[in-house]
């Protein structure tokens, strides 16, 4: 091939050289101005696709971090409330133990009862607390107070109105963080173990299972006394004031001048003319009372049996008569959804029996029960009261345990959330760095490129100016 340069060829090669270098300069300037290496996807489709993918991951990470942040707020709020709840239950326990001290007067106990009631109110406040206008412990039912009061048979009870669903937020592609604790887990978890009777009346659990939550009162009513009495004895006031139920043996010893009901304290027969001779109270070992009229007492010995008729009730209004032979008497109360099976054989005295469905009394009702008993609303003697307070101790400890377990769970999740926040933060920084590496211009390199392109351009301009200016005409004369 012969080489035959022409002026036009030189010009066009010069032109493309100038264009190419100018384009390089423009590109470098664009990169410097925006700080980005990839301005359009086509600048580096591979890099841009990767940068976009990093961007999406980064968007996800930021999304998860935002969720984590709000989740941690909720978890921390839950934790502080649970901590305080735990403290309230500890304080209640102290008050309860104080109340079991026999030297305390009823008035002293009433003061304790007031304190417990205040603690109960605070506990309810905590359990019904809101964060940003949303109830914290209602599960996903955040728009209503989770623990609501209802009065059944004159007793206020707290029931859980929330649901069992925990709120969750997404904190990873396939991982979720539970941000709230459905309140029943902490305050009203159930660990059913059957009904227990405080033992005042002698009523016992029947053979069938029972159904109920919390506690209920079993009312044993004295419906009249029947007795075939001798030695001139009579029932005072027709037996209306008696509290004994079932058949008891009455022994009047004319020689020793004593009277005894079952294994109760042996009492001296009141002398004629004494103030209580017409209404002398004999008590058996369980505190069941028989009112005897000794006014016409002949002084003879007498032994026989006295029987108190009885009926039972769960609500204090509708009563079922018993004959003390039922081993599995079924009592149903629709209002409180209680089905109780009672063994009536050992029922001895009138009274209000506290039946606790063990493991089902929620924290608030436990505190209410403790306050009621400290205030002695059922007017019990100290022994019976002490037994009841002792029974509450079990429920109180169980509730405390539930609060602590819940607190542990919340704390663990909060810790997990904190760790995750840190990990995601690092991941975000890494992704950001990776994306920046791909997408952002390395200013040093770009500046170098720019100056190189500039130098080349100048070189091209200079040489071509020189070359183009030469022509044969310059030398033809």
């Amino acid at each position: 091939m012969n080489i035959r340069p022409t002026q036009t060829a030189a010009l066009s090669s010069l032109q493309s050289g100038l264009f190419m270098n100018l384009a390089k300069i423009v590109r470098a300037q664009e990169q410097l101005a925006t700080g980005k290496r990839i301005l359009r996807v086509s600048d580096d489709p591979g890099g841009a696709t990767l940068a976009l993918a990093y961007g999406r991951r980064l968007g996800d990470t930021e999304r998860f971090l935002a969720s984590l942040q709000s989740g941690r707020n909720l978890l921390d709020s839950s934790a502080t409330r649970l901590e305080e709840s735990g403290e309230i239950l500890v304080r209640t326990r102290e008050l309860l133990l104080q109340g079991m001290n026999g030297t305390l007067s009823n008035a002293d106990r009433a003061t304790l009862a007031q304190s417990v009631e205040q603690l109960r109110e605070r506990l309810l406040e905590l359990a019904n607390d809101q964060v940003d206008g949303r109830y914290l412990f209602g599960g996903t039912a955040t728009d209503g107070a989770p623990f609501s009061a209802s009065t059944i048979h004159g007793v206020e009870r707290i029931t859980y109105a929330g649901n069992a669903d925990a709120q969750r937020v997404q904190v990873g592609d396939d991982s979720y963080l539970q941000t709230t604790l459905p309140g029943f887990e902490a305050f009203s978890a159930l660990q059913r173990s059957g009904a227990s009777y405080a033992g005042l009346t002698g009523a016992r659990a029947g053979t069938s299972a029972d159904q109920g939550t919390g506690f209920t009162r079993l009312y044993a009513r004295h419906d009249g006394t029947s007795a075939a009495l001798g030695a001139g004895l009579a029932l005072a006031n027709g037996g209306a004031d008696d509290t004994l139920l079932g058949t008891h043996s009455l022994v009047v010893d004319g020689v020793a001048g004593t009277v005894q009901l079952d294994n109760g304290t042996t009492l001296s027969i009141p002398p004629a003319g004494s103030a209580n001779v017409a209404d002398f109270v004999v008590t058996d070992e369980n505190g069941a009372e028989l009112h005897l009229d000794f006014s016409a007492y002949t002084g003879a010995s007498f032994s026989g049996s006295v029987t108190g008729a009885a009926s039972l009730s769960l609500d204090g209004t509708s009563y079922t008569a018993i004959n003390f032979s039922e081993t599995d008497l079924e009592l149903v109360d629709g209002a409180s959804d209680v089905v109780l099976h009672v063994d009536t054989q050992a029922i001895r005295r009138e009274g209000t029996e506290l039946v606790v469905f063990d493991g089902t009394v929620n924290a608030f009702d436990t505190l209410r029960g403790i306050a009621d008993d400290l205030a002695n609303v059922d007017a019990l003697d100290f022994d019976a009261l002490s037994e009841r307070l002792n029974a509450w101790l079990g429920e109180l400890d169980r509730n405390h345990e539930n609060v602590l377990v819940s607190l542990g769970g919340v704390g663990a999740r909060a810790q997990h959330a904190a760790n995750l926040t840190e990990a995601l933060g690092e991941q975000g920084a890494q992704l950001d760095a990776l994306r920046s590496n791909l997408e952002d211009a390395d200013l040093g390199t770009v500046a170098l490129e720019l100056s190189r392109a500039q130098t080349t351009l100048e070189l091209v301009q200079a040489t071509s100016a020189r070359l183009l200016s030469t022509s044969l005409l310059d030398y033809l004369r």
């Binding site: 301005l39 086509s42 941000t179 939550t213 997408e439």
Partner: protein, 777 residues
């Protein structure tokens, strides 16, 4: 000799003159585009024989010739076509890239990310009005951006079409120019030698034509040129055809025609534009549409089975109409799967939960959908048959579902809270249940009862059953309930799954009836003389937990013996699946505390209240389990409880109801204010890998669309640069051959000037010699 001398001198002068003129012509056209350097071909004239001598006759000019390489010129034309094509594609692609806004903060990809972020934020506080509104708004902004993209792609198609029109007009101009030159060249060359300058012009026109379309040029022996485009004659020596752009309004496609016949143009700017308009833009529009369609379907599928903030729905209207296909004016007879719904439905079920707003009790119903059999009418009837629900089609064929006052409905995956609605499991009614059907009855078989008004008998007839030998519980219950004596005796029959249950209407221990016997008794597993009593205590079972299974199913509970819950030793509730396979035993006898929750299977828990169960009386309880509440995929097809309306990128929009009232966003499954689980499902669906997108997720697909355009553009740009380099080198080669080097011409000028002077001198000498001779004479 003297004449010869003059001849030689004159020819030498003329030849030198011609060469000088050609040099002048070359110098004058040194910068004319397409000009080919010319030169005069000279030769020694034919010698004459004078005596024994063969005397030279001087010089003669034979022809003026172009420095020209036909093969190179052909290649240049091809190169122009290739470059034109890349140029047109590249500039269109550049516009698309800008539209897609790949790296920009307002591109669709970024807006999709923002939508996910706002959904995620709402999940942290599902009842927050501001977050709800921002979730709906961000989705709407994204939808608007996708609409805009679809519109931009559409208008780009129109731009390309009008560019094609302009291109075709230029092609026609060039074709007629070539045609004119053809005639001139043929005329000129018929009379004299090569029409160099006309040919240069024709080649220049052809080269420009090549940058628009890929051409094949054939020159005939007379110098006329035929130009073929895509195998069709554009220019023939005798005629010129016209190129036109045809626009098909049905599918918005364009095609190119020459003389009314369609031609395939691959190269040149027109080729590039055509390929953009025919393949790249439709593919891009298709990709964006497929993306939008999948987004709509997936998000709606999750959303439609959710529940709004204010709980179950009172009324819902579908977005997509059911259409009469056979034109008989009746939609009801169409198959549901073939009634013009925009998305496929499948064989499966639709679960409808009906909630009693007062009690909060949820009853779950299932409607089976068979794509081969279920008609629109069947489906409407099935909806209508659900208690407290009504369904109609309006004039346009869109479905409207409505609940009675005090009731609500939804399609969520929920557990029935009170599954024993009829009290067939330890309930208060006197209740007698059978085993699972079907039951082998024979025509005339009877069931004999003693009810509260005495003994009576119900007979079964073949006409009451699809197949009396395999009677279903539903059919038997229908026959019994239709019997007036049966009803008059205070009895009612129901089907619990496959089992038949006969009960007293009243509850309590005083309720009683006797199955006296009858020929059908055996088929139900009942023995004659069976006395059934009611109870005062109701062993209401309560279901809780969350079903974790993915398939729809049922749990059937039956006691193993007669006994009292929490009391009778060895009392077990046996749990079966819907097909009668035993799953587990629940110990509910002595030691069980009534009310305690027992794990059944797959996250479902059950608690039994105190009460009495009877295996003899066939106590049975069925709990429907919903794994997929819309396995028929019916809701997104109907557009019931949609999140997105629309079918493709141009119609994508957030449902108007949601925009007007963001509380209608179905963030929850339960309707609880803090329940965001459905929102999380929507996020999962929108971010999950989809088989329809080759295993990509929606956001990945969007990035792919952006990336694909980027790759295409980069490839085109790279190819353009490479082809440009090739063109430059071809043109340089052409310049080497055909270009005018002024220095060279100037040297030749000097040479010819001297030749001219020499010839003139020769003539003078010849003239002097001749004069001397004449003086002698």
């Amino acid at each position: 000799m003297s004449l010869l001398g003059f001849d030689i001198g004159v020819r030498a002068l003329l030849t030198a003159q011609s060469r000088l003129e050609t040099i002048g012509h070359n110098l004058a056209n040194a910068t004319t585009p397409g000009y080919s350097r010319q030169s005069v071909l000279v030769s020694a004239s034919t010698p004459q024989t004078i005596g024994a001598l063969l005397q030279g006759g001087g010089v003669q000019a034979d022809a003026i010739q172009r420095a020209f390489d036909a093969v190179l010129n052909g290649r240049l034309s091809q190169q122009m076509s290739a470059l034109g094509r890349l140029d047109a594609s590249g500039s269109t692609l550049m516009q698309i890239e800008t539209l897609l806004g790949g790296m920009s903060e307002t591109g669709p990809a970024k807006l999709l990310e923002k939508m996910f972020a706002s959904f995620s934020a709402l999940a942290t506080a599902a009842d927050d009005g501001v977050l709800r509104s921002s979730a709906v708004q961000s989705a709407s902004a994204f939808a608007g951006r996708v609409n805009q993209l679809a519109g931009d792609v559409q208008s780009l198609k129109h731009t390309v079409a009008s560019q094609l029109e302009i291109g075709a007009r230029r092609v026609n101009e060039l074709a007629s120019r070539i045609s004119v030159l053809n005639r001139e060249i043929v005329n000129a060359e018929a009379s004299s030698s090569a029409a160099n300058d006309l040919r240069d012009q024709r080649e220049q026109a052809l080269r420009e034509l090549s940058s628009h379309v890929d051409v094949r040029a054939i020159e005939d022996e007379r110098g006329g040129m035929r130009v073929l485009v895509g195998g069709r004659m554009l220019v023939s020596p005798s005629a010129t055809a016209t190129m036109s752009v045809a626009h098909d309004p049905t599918d918005d496609s364009v095609s190119l025609r020459i003389g009314g016949e369609e031609v395939e143009v691959l190269g040149g700017q027109i080729g590039g534009l055509l390929s953009m308009s025919r393949s790249f833009l439709p593919k891009l529009a298709g990709d964006v549409d497929a993306f939008a369609r999948n987004l709509i379907y997936e998000v709606n599928r999750a959303h439609s089975t959710g529940v709004a903030l204010d709980g179950p729905f009172q009324a819902l209207r579908a977005s997509h109409a059911l259409v009469d296909q056979d034109g008989d004016g009746n939609v009801d007879d169409e198959l549901l799967a073939g009634a013009g719904l925009p998305f496929e439905i499948e064989d499966g079920e639709l679960v409808v939960n009906v909630t009693d707003r007062d009690s909060g009790d949820i009853e779950t119903h299932r409607i089976a959908i068979d794509t081969q059999r279920t008609t629109v009418g069947d489906f409407l009837d099935a909806l209508e048959a659900l208690p407290h629900l009504s369904a109609q089609l309006d004039a346009r064929g869109t479905l409207r579902v409505q609940a009675d006052a005090g009731f609500g409905f939804d399609f969520a995956k929920r557990l029935e809270s009170a599954p024993d609605s009829i009290g067939s499991f330890g309930g208060g009614h006197a209740s007698l249940g059978s085993g699972d059907g079907p039951f082998a009855l024979a025509a005339g078989d009877t069931l004999d009862f003693v009810g509260n008004s005495g003994t009576f008998s119900v007979a079964f007839q073949a006409g009451d059953f699809t197949n009396i030998g395999a009677a279903t519980a539903d059919e038997v219950a229908r026959v019994l309930n239709a019997d007036s004596t049966f009803a008059a005796n205070g009895l009612v029959a129901s089907a619990v799954g496959g089992a038949l249950v006969v009960q007293t209407v009243g509850v309590g221990a005083t309720q009683s009836f006797t199955l006296q016997g009858g020929t059908a008794a055996g088929a139900f597993g009942w023995s004659a003389g069976q006395v059934v009593n009611g109870s005062d205590v109701v062993a209401t079972p309560t279901i809780s937990g969350a079903y974790t299974g993915s398939a729809n199913g049922a749990l059937v509970f039956r006691p193993n013996i007669d006994g009292t819950i929490g009391t009778t030793a060895g009392l077990v509730v046996e749990v079966f699946d819907a097909n009668g396979n035993k799953l587990t035993d629940l110990q509910v006898g002595a030691g069980y505390q009534p009310g305690d929750e027992l794990e059944v299977v797959d996250g479902v828990k059950v608690a039994f209240a105190f009460g009495h169960l009877s295996a003899t009386d066939g106590d049975v309880l069925r709990v429907e389990l919903t794994g997929d509440s819309d396995s028929a995929r019916l809701l997104p097809a109907l557009g019931l409880n949609n999140f997105f309306d629309g079918l493709d990128a141009s119609t994508l929009a957030v449902r108007g109801t949601l925009l007007a009232d963001p509380d209608q966003l179905a963030a929850s499954v339960t309707g609880a204010s803090g329940d965001a689980s459905n929102l999380l499902r929507m996020l999962e669906a929108a971010q999950g890998e989809l088989a329809a997108l080759d295993g990509n997720s929606l956001d990945e697909r969007l990035a792919q669309i952006v990336g694909d355009v980027g790759f295409e553009l980069q490839t085109t740009n790279d190819a353009y640069q490479a082809e440009q380099l090739a063109l430059d080198s071809l043109e340089a080669r052409r310049e080497q051959i055909s270009g005018v080097n002024t220095d060279e011409e100037l040297v030749a000028l000097l040479e010819q000037q001297q030749a001219y002077a020499a010839a003139a001198q020769f003539l003078r000498v010849v003239s002097e010699i001749t004069n001397e001779l004449l003086d002698i004479v």
